[in-house]
Structures are given as structure tokens and as C-alpha cells.
Amino acid sequence: MNAILFVFLIIFSGCEISPLLNHTYNEFAQAKKRISSSTHFVGSLNLNIEFDWPKGPNGNPNLESQLQLIFRDDEGKLTNLPATHSLFVYGWMPSMGHGTADDGELIQTGMGTYLIKDFYFSMPGEWDIFIQILKNNVVDEEIKISVTVPESTP
């Protein structure tokens, strides 16, 4: 019986980190916000790529998110991808080990400007967005951006 009581004491020591005693109502209170736009260099094309979120990102799976990609050369001019190249974008939640609810549709909206619309995250949290640059339908380069996705972004 003493052994059983000892086991229960060990277990109840977990109360120190009880979710009931240590939680927040502020979503991602301690998370680093990485929603703002950023720029990466695409070495295989010698282009810079800028990311922005015209809509979202929204962790509510009923709210659309939109990701905009803008390609510029080293002089800052908007530049289209070569005809042999294409883009494929998808999201992945590494901590949970699953993808998005919908990776959306990619359309070109202008010179060097691409928009992924109808992009739906399945839940809030830390997500990785992978942008694959394909040459003749073979992945030539892949860029990963990490984003903290709240329930909804104003």
C-alpha cells in the first residue's frame, strides 16, 4: 500500500505544471510573430522572392488565406519565371505531422507576381510553407518559410 501511495505522490507532483494552473487566453502569447513579409534569394534563378499575406494567415479552417510571391532581379525589377520553370506551394505543420486543409490555387497576377488563393490552414500553430521552384517539372530549388498562424488575422 505504501508503494501505491508513493506512486500517486509522484504522479500528483505533476500538478505543478497543470494546464489548469498555467495557461493563457491570449493566443500564442509567447510565440514569435512571423506573419510579416520577408525576402529570400533564389540562387538557381538569381532572383529575389518576396512573401506577403494579402489575406491571413488564418488558423480557422473556414477562413481563406492568401500568399503573394513577388520575384525581382538584383536591380529590383519585377521578373517572370522562365518558361521552363513553374511553382508549387504547400504547407506543412511539423509539430503535428500533417498538411493544410487545402493548398489552394496558384495564379499569376502580374509581372513576376504570383498569388496562392483559396489556401486553408487546418488549425492555428507553427506552420512551414514550402515553395518549390520546378524546372521541367523537377524540383530545382525549395524555399521554406515558417509562420505562426493565429486563429484569424485582423
Binding site: 501505491i4 500517486f8 500528483f12 473556414n62 508549387f88 506543412w92 509539430s95 486563429e151
Partner: protein, 308 residues
Amino acid sequence: MKFCLITILFILIYIQQVLGAACCGGGSGLPSLITGDYRGQLTTSFSQAKIVGEKLHQEIPYFWPKDKTFYTRSLKIDATYQFDNYFQFGVSSSVLMKDYRFSNGANNQDHGISDIGLTAAYCFLPELNFSRYRPVGFSFAKLTIPTGKSIYESNDPAGADVSGKGFYIFSLGLAFVKTLGIYDWQIMGEGHSFIERTFKHNSHITKVKPGPGGSLLFSLGWSPYNSDWRLGGSISPHYEGEKVSSFNSTKSRSGYELYWDTSFSLSKLLSEEYMASFNYTDQTILGPVNNTNLSRTLTFSFQKRWAL
């Protein structure tokens, strides 16, 4: 003798109540066992689980606003048959109904059949003579068949149609049960592993290999004044290892999942053949927790059993 029978019956009910709702249609690897001299038992359980928050990897627990409500209602059937005094076999499954409401008014509802569990158990430590301390011991093996829809096959953005883990799961474990006067205790533990599986859904191919997991159960019970009533409490930690996923050219490793079921139960023996029980399970009381939803579950169970 009658008292012992009553207490064991309470334990039988109680074993099945601690299976708190976990994320993604999952449940515990802990099975329902016959621990008394019965030929069979059939348990029907109605439960309602409300997800009240979540603990994401490397975050502190976040409790959702009151207007974001995720309910999972389930009807579970659990049947166990004992071939002799040592071997038994059980099968269980449930129907899940999900009702997810978001703060912006969106509502996702769906239902589905969960995974099926098959259990074989052997009583390796029977109670052949009286002992104050020596418990009755069981070893068991459980196979979970992925008949439910997994998160990798979901068509609902919110995952309201998810009703299963998506993997064949093999569990091995031990259980010890003892009645001491008006008190009883139970310790159960299991470890399980998954079979790697490739999911093809909406032109996506995802290969997932979950790491091994396990769960424990510690419970205490008390039947006041040798009555037909029993009050019980239990603690049950659950651990799921990291998942290695391959999706397109990406290979990623998820965080581990850990949550604790804390349960309280009130049971009533209606007759020698019937038992009713209420159970409350809370996943917000004990920690640490990681990478999981946190829910509170109310369950009502009704059990019919047959003598040898």
C-alpha cells in the same frame, strides 16, 4: 463474496470509463477486461467531450474563447467474452458525432465510425486463494484496425470528419486489480507501436511513421458502507511518440504528444446483471501536456453481463 463481486463489477465498468477523448478520433490503448467470474459483458457508453483548449508544441496551454466550441459525442459498444477462467477476447467500436463551432460563427459537423479494437487477454495471476496483497494479474494484446477516417484522409477543413488514427496499432500490456475490503485499486500499463502507412488523398501522397507510445492507469475505488454504490478516481497519462512524415520532398518530425486523463466516477450496481455509471474525465488538471487538445468528457455507461 457478494461484496467482492459488486466491487469487481464496479471495476469492470470503471476500466471502460477512463478512455478520455484524445485528438483526432483517438483513444487509449488500454482495453476493457473481464476481471471476475463472468462469461461475457456488453457495455454501451454515451459520452460528450468538449475541447476547451490546446497545448501546441513549444507553447503554453491556450484555453479557447467560450464561443469556440468543439464537441465530440460518441456511442461506444464494447463486448468481451471469456472462454475459460484464463482467456478472453473483446471487440469495441464507436460512432462519433462532431460539432465544431468557431468564433466567427462557422459550423462544421460530421460523423463516422471509429477504429475497431480487438483484444485478447490472459489471466496469468489468478486469485486461487486469499491474499491480502497479491492482486489478480492480466496480460493483454490489442490490435486497433483503422476503420475510421484519419486526419490524412479528411475532407473537412476543420477535421470534423476525422474519426480514427489511421494506423494499425499493436498494443501489449499488463493489468493488476485488487479489492481490499471496501477499497479497490487497479494498475494498468501498455505500450504500442504503429505500422507505417502511405496515404493517398486529393493527389497528395503522405507517408507517415508514428513513433511508439504508451499509457498507464492508476485508479482507486471506494464503496461506502458496503453499498451498491462506488466512488472512484483515476489518473492516466498517455504518450505518443514523434511522427516522421514524408510529404512531397519534405521529411519532417512532429513533436511528441502527452496528456493526462484525470477521472472521477460514480457507479451503481442495479442488479447482478446490470450496472450504470457516470464518469467525468478532465485533461486540464494534470500535466505536463504537449502537442494535444485538452478536453473534458462526461460519460454515461450501461453494462449487461452474463455469469459463467
